[in-house]
């Protein structure tokens, strides 16, 4: 036996320090509404600060109104976004019109910010074929992806397509949650984008839970950002309850990828204030009020509202007025969605192939005869 007990490789030390570079989430305003990075704060104009606040109020109102419709039985599947406004709107605000969006099922607000209509969002929730009509009409987006991870491998492909097309200042923009980082497609997606040095910006919205499974049960990695290292993808954590930090990081990540430097991975630290979905999930089965309360105190709206109120850029009357305006818009969108034509079997048969195969053609004729009765 060797006389000394020196390690050949000090795995214990490696393990204890491997998360270190990723454990400093970028922050501009802290939990108490205090500006902690004045230099970054000063990069925002008053107008931009107000715009970001308006977008968060928009998303919060969208959530509240959508939950109302859901409770009334007027919608189908809906994944609430309550609490994630800073993460989602900060990232969405950095997205450009030409970017190709790969949303997950919780990312309807970003999709609507990118050009889809609220009506289309509601049609998607209800389950109607007119939901995903935005893409060929100018909005570059896949539909909200149900298969967790699939959007990541596809975003790598779109990024390579963008690169091959020679499209300047354009990226693919993909979202997943903390649970999604355990999927094979999560790793394959960032690794493919990296191998091809393709302009993809990958976001992980870490809201602490995948339905009932807490983040720490997904992986022993201390951060999700560090998963970029496995693929040579630069990555960072950001305070996802701070829209200014989230926006600045997303913008920088986007610019880095768009400039031809390969993909970037960003983990936003956020929290889901309520249920996983409208389909009967009950967070009280797996979370305590004691755990939830500190996160409610970190509400991204409270934080920016305080800063803006101090600067005399915001007041409650203005916010109330906005909420009423948005609610009216969402109610109109719901009415339009409810006026959509009834779906026919032939609608589905005709879009199964560009040129129907003989068996599909026979079904089209059979169902056309039924539908014409």
């Amino acid at each position: 036996m060797a006389a000394n007990n020196k390690h050949i490789v000090d795995f214990a030390k490696i393990k204890s320090t491997m998360s270190d570079p990723y454990k400093k989430p970028v922050q501009v305003i802290d939990e108490n509404g205090k500006i902690v990075n004045q230099e970054l704060f000063d990069t925002f104009s008053d107008d931009e600060l107000v715009t970001l606040m308006e977008k968060m109020v928009w998303e919060r109102t969208l959530h509240e109104q959508t939950m109302n419709f859901s409770r009334q039985g007027r919608l189908g599947f809906y994944a609430p976004t309550y609490g994630e406004e800073a993460s989602e709107m900060g990232i969405a605000h950095a997205m450009q019109k030409q970017d190709f969006l790969f949303p997950a099922y919780r990312d309807l607000p970003q999709l609507i910010q990118h050009g889809a209509t609220v009506e289309q969002g509601y049609l998607w929730s209800k389950g109607h074929y007119l939901a995903n009509q935005y893409n060929p009409e100018g909005t570059r987006s896949m539909f909200p992806q149900i298969i967790i991870g699939a959007q990541y491998v596809q975003a790598a492909g779109a990024a390579l397509g963008i690169k091959k097309n020679g499209e300047e200042n354009t990226v693919s923009y993909a979202f997943t949650g903390d649970g999604g980082t355990s999927q094979g497609d999560f790793y394959e997606g960032i690794n493919f984008a990296s191998a091809f040095q393709a302009p993809a910006v990958f976001f992980v919205q870490n809201n602490g839970y995948a339905i009932s499974v807490p983040r720490y049960k997904q992986t022993a990695a201390e951060t999700l950002a560090q998963k970029g290292v496995a693929s040579g993808v630069p990555s960072t954590q950001v305070d996802g309850m701070d829209i200014l930090a989230t926006y600045l990081v997303a913008k920088e990540a986007r610019e880095f990828a768009a400039a031809g430097n390969g993909p970037v991975l960003v983990e936003t630290l956020t929290y889901r204030f309520g249920a996983h979905s409208s389909a009967g999930d009950d967070p009280s089965r797996y979370r305590t009020k004691e755990e939830e309360q500190p996160w409610f105190d970190r509400d991204p709206l409270i934080r920016l509202r305080k800063v803006l109120t101090d600067k005399k850029l915001w007041d409650q009357a203005k916010e109330d007025e906005l909420v009423e305006q948005y609610k009216g818009e969402f109610k109109d969108a719901m009415k339009k969605a409810e006026a959509a034509p009834a779906q026919k079997v032939t609608d589905f048969l005709k879009t199964t192939f560009e040129t129907p195969t003989p068996n599909v053609q026979r079904d089209i004729e059979k169902y056309e005869a039924k539908e014409s009765k």
Binding site: N132, N135, V153, A155, N165, D185, E188, F192
Partner: protein
């Protein structure tokens, strides 16, 4: 015209589509500089450049996810999955994603993707290389599954598959790659999708087969001809959709049918063809529908392939049984 192997015919077809459409892309594991593990893409990277023909990391789901993203940004991908047994890694990309996107977007999104993948027994490959897995994919709306049985069809079908604006799974039989040669026209020609081919006309009995089993069926037809038994052989070519018109016309003529596949009886497309005939043409039959298929075990260890794979003897036995019913 030139005499070409099945594999060279596919290479010519790929060369043709790369020439015809600058948006076509070939990629996969070892398909670039190496020209593919079977040389199917040999010389294509040298001719068309790394931008058009390129290698990928070793990850099947990534390869087909890449195809979907490329298709969404205006490209016409021709990815390769090195062996069909590895498509399990990418089933979501095929079944859950690309096949559904036209429908999801109400007809406004095309996924013009042709997935090339080798399969088939008889060459003593390692595990999960030879499995016939077509039945995993033939039940998928929005996806076509085709497989050529000869070099002429191989070139014409790969061109049709690539030119089609919907996803096609293109199965290439490993045993056929170098075992046969055909006179192949130079330049572009197509073999239609969705269409079976009557490769031999006959009046006494119909054999419906596909891929390597077509050649086994033709051997049986040759042998029985000497006894004045006239066998009609149909090569399905398209496994999804099944060309029932061609099958029904033949059954109405011969009144007897034997279905042949290399896949296990519980797999393949034989059961689907049988049910179509039973549903639509049962009154035309003079005997039960005969079926020849592999045993319902896992694909065999290499040394047992010859005992396991259905061959001309198995087909002859079943044909005589149905003829003498």
């Amino acid at each position: 015209m030139a005499k070409l192997t099945y594999i060279k015919a596919i290479t010519e077809g790929l060369d043709q589509v790369l020439q015809d459409d600058p948006k076509t892309l070939i990629f996969g594991e070892d398909v670039g500089k190496n020209g593919g593990v079977f040389r199917t893409t040999d010389g294509l990277q040298a001719k068309f450049g790394e931008d058009r023909v390129f290698d990928t990391p070793l990850a099947e789901s990534g390869i087909l996810g890449l195809s979907i993203g490329l298709a969404a940004t205006g490209w016409r991908p021709i990815p390769e999955i090195q062996f069909m047994g590895f498509t399990f890694e990418a089933v979501d990309s095929i079944v859950g994603q690309m096949s559904r996107n036209r429908f999801r977007f109400n007809g406004k999104m095309s996924m013009p993707i042709t997935i090339r993948t080798p399969f088939g027994g008889g060459t003593h490959t390692a595990e999960l290389h030879g499995d016939s897995m077509e039945n995993i994919f033939t039940g998928v709306p929005g996806l076509r599954v085709v497989t050529p049985s000869n070099p002429y069809d191989a070139k014409g079908l790969i061109i049709s598959a690539v030119e089609n604006n919907d996803p096609v799974l293109f199965m290439e039989n490993l045993k056929l790659y170098r075992s046969m040669k055909d006179e192949i026209p130079e330049g572009k020609y197509t073999v239609p999708l969705d269409k079976a081919n009557v490769v031999r006309e006959g009046n006494d009995i119909t054999i419906v087969a596909y891929s390597a089993e077509v050649n086994e069926a033709l051997k049986v037809a040759d042998k029985l001809e000497k006894e004045n038994i006239s066998v009609e052989v149909i090569d399905l070519r398209s496994l999804s959709p099944i060309d029932t018109d061609t099958i029904f016309a033949s059954v109405e003529k011969t009144h007897k049918v034997v279905l042949v596949q290399e896949a296990q009886k519980m797999a393949g497309v034989g059961a689907h063809v049988a049910s179509e005939i039973a549903e639509n043409k049962i009154m035309s039959l003079d005997a039960p529908i005969g079926r020849v298929a592999a045993p319902d075990s896992i694909f065999p260890f290499a040394m047992a392939e010859n005992d396991w794979l259905p061959n001309a003897d198995d087909i002859e036995e079943k044909v005589r049984e149905i003829l003498n019913y």
